[in-house]
Symmetry: C2
Subunit: 383 residues, 2 copies
């Protein structure tokens, strides 16, 4: 049997990495992070089709996958590019061939701005966000010295994380940016973290309309001032079917939809307790390595195999009733699962983004076949 699709790795990495990659799912060394391609591709096609139909740009957030190969697959599916949480993540993605990068956190400090200028030189479509006049001035000075014009977007505070307050403070910053010669105002970014996880669905709709409504009003305020501002990027997996109804948003930046996780499943959906708009495509395979007592099966995955930020552990696939507890950095304990030493078990992860960030490789599988080993090339790039 031949594999149905070939994925190309970053040149230079391919030979060394692939040489040691098992060809069959059952031979992957555990703990192993896998993505089931059929489900992953369906998720990507669903989101891309939905946004195309809604007339919205699609710039999926690469903080979820940190993998240049996936960024390029998203581009093939219609994405205008990828978001990156941090500058070093964007650089790693660009090194692997990704385009259209939006860095969603302000880049602060002389050395990092110098690196950002170098990135803008080779990828003129890169967009950086700012929420502070000093940072805008720093970009302008560095761009002038390099003979460039850099794309800046205002990062708006809409209830979580970072950004400048909507309304007058944003207008003042937009005016400031519009007067600078070596930067170009791309538009606005507004990420409403809290609304993406608000449940039930009706409350999520209200929270999103409230948060993104402020961003849309701010865009109108800036435009009424005579400043071009025809771009507003925001949204998430949780609000994918809410944002399109908010007139004024031009682009979505969801990430988790391609993999899904227990956390997102729990946010609920329209008329449903659980969110199944996208399929769980990401799993960790682990092996039972010890059975100290009849009622315990110890697997080879703990804090270093599963993200712990949700406060709960992974879920045994197809057997949600089995109780998992962490057994420290390297182990997990299952009760009453009937598993024997050597058994390989698959788990849904609590939270996909920080789980992916623990692994060097995502194995892309279709059925029993390992079709590719994608280096998580921006793993650990949080700078």
């Amino acid at each position: 049997m031949t594999s149905r699709r070939v994925f190309f790795l970053t040149p230079g990495v391919a030979a060394a990495t692939l040489a040691a990659v098992p060809k069959r799912r059952q031979d992957l060394p555990t703990p192993a992070l896998i993505v089931e391609l059929d489900k992953f591709e369906a998720n990507l096609a669903k989101m891309a089709g939905h946004l195309k139909q809604s007339g919205l740009g699609f710039r999926p957030h690469a903080k979820t996958h940190k993998t240049a190969e996936i960024a390029k697959l998203c581009e093939k599916a219609g994405a205008v590019g990828s978001c990156a949480a941090k500058l070093s993540e964007a650089i790693a993605l660009a090194d692997g061939g990704a385009r259209g990068l939006l860095i969603t956190t302000a880049v602060i400090g002389r050395d990092k701005i110098a690196q950002g200028i170098a990135l803008a030189k080779r990828r003129p479509d890169t967009i950086f966000v700012i929420d502070h006049t000093q940072n805008a001035d720093d970009w302008d000075a560095a761009a002038r010295a390099a003979g460039l014009r850099v794309n800046l977007a205002l990062d708006l505070w809409v209830g979580r994380r970072t950004g400048i307050l909507c309304g007058e403070p944003s207008l003042a910053l937009a005016r400031h940016v519009s007067r600078l010669k070596n930067v170009r105002l791309q538009g606005l970014q507004a990420y409403s973290g809290p609304s993406s996880h608000t449940r039930p669905f009706e409350k999520r709709v209200a929270a999103t309309q409230q948060a993104m409504g402020e961003a849309v009003e701010t865009r109108a305020l800036i435009e009424r001032d005579g400043i071009a501002c025809n771009w507003l990027s925001g949204g998430s997996t949780g609000t994918w079917n809410i944002d399109p109804s908010i007139k004024g948003i031009t682009e979505l930046q969801p990430g988790s939809f391609m993999f899904m996780d227990i956390d997102y499943r729990r946010i609920g959906a329209q008329g449903a307790e659980e969110f199944h708009d996208f399929q769980q495509s990401l799993f960790v395979i682990a092996t039972v390595v010890s059975r100290p007592k009849p009622e315990m099966a110890v697997i080879d995955g703990g804090f270093k195999a599963f993200a712990t930020d949700r406060g709960y552990g992974p879920e045994l696939r197809h057997r949600p009733e089995i109780k998992f507890s962490f057994g420290g950095d390297e182990h997990g304990v299952l009760t009453d699962s009937g598993a024997k030493v050597g058994d390989r078990l698959e788990f849904l992860v609590p939270h996909c983004d920080p789980t992916v960030n623990l692994y060097d490789t995502i194995y892309a599988v279709r059925g029993d076949i390992v079709e590719a080993a994608w280096p998580v090339s921006a793993r650990g790039k949080s700078q």
Copy 2:
């Protein structure tokens, strides 16, 4: 000013890595993981001196640092070698020049045992643990095919994680191993996770005596059966000054003492609320990247910069009263700290082992000088 000490990196890695390493602490790109060498060296000297004086072997656990350079510094300080949590971690350490490796989790599966045999070939002092007759037979068969004799130790269950029950079950397994031709019974391993974190100190003493007492009795039981068993490895940072009083333990495998963290500080000490037997040497430097509101300062470190398994976040150095909360994967929020955008702040980490596992590099600093950039060469090696 010249640096007082030079650390050598793995050949081949040095040039590429060091080329980009800033020479001054204030220039490290954040979030940056640093170790203060004066404190780290004092911790190492204190533990090594204590164990030498106690007549105990010192095999520090590399799951804490995952760094071949540190394993070799431990050897220079008198360690007989290093523990590794998993086979792939041990292989990465061996690749970097580490010796005397004890893999503290059973190695399960044909492919992994084949890799273990390859490791044993180039490092005959490697020790593997088992807790199961089938696994012992698998090692014996693989060693026979390779023309080797492999060192196996019994992993005893003493209240956490993995292992075979003490007493008769362990004796039966020891007898089984002693009859196999291509393995050699090294002795016993007993790691009592729960007792390392029991507080107050008096209860920790009792818990340790109880757990390790069973291991010592099991060793005597096996020896009375005529089977040589003169090696018993166990212990942790929390029990470093308790284990030496338990006759029959021959070697300690502490890890966290070299770095320390908030979690270990909280276990308390003899007559003290906090455990300060070793100094905090590990810190994360982060930068304030946004101040959306006067009472908030947002730093560039979140779930991907600090381990989250303890349920609490990092602590601002010298200012424990400042409240930190996670702002998602990439950000943390400080309240009322007075910090401005661009300020660099240093943090104590909640839990050192899984925090180190998030970083590709540990910067070794002395005062303002970056003396070395150690690749975390076994990072992500949980297989």
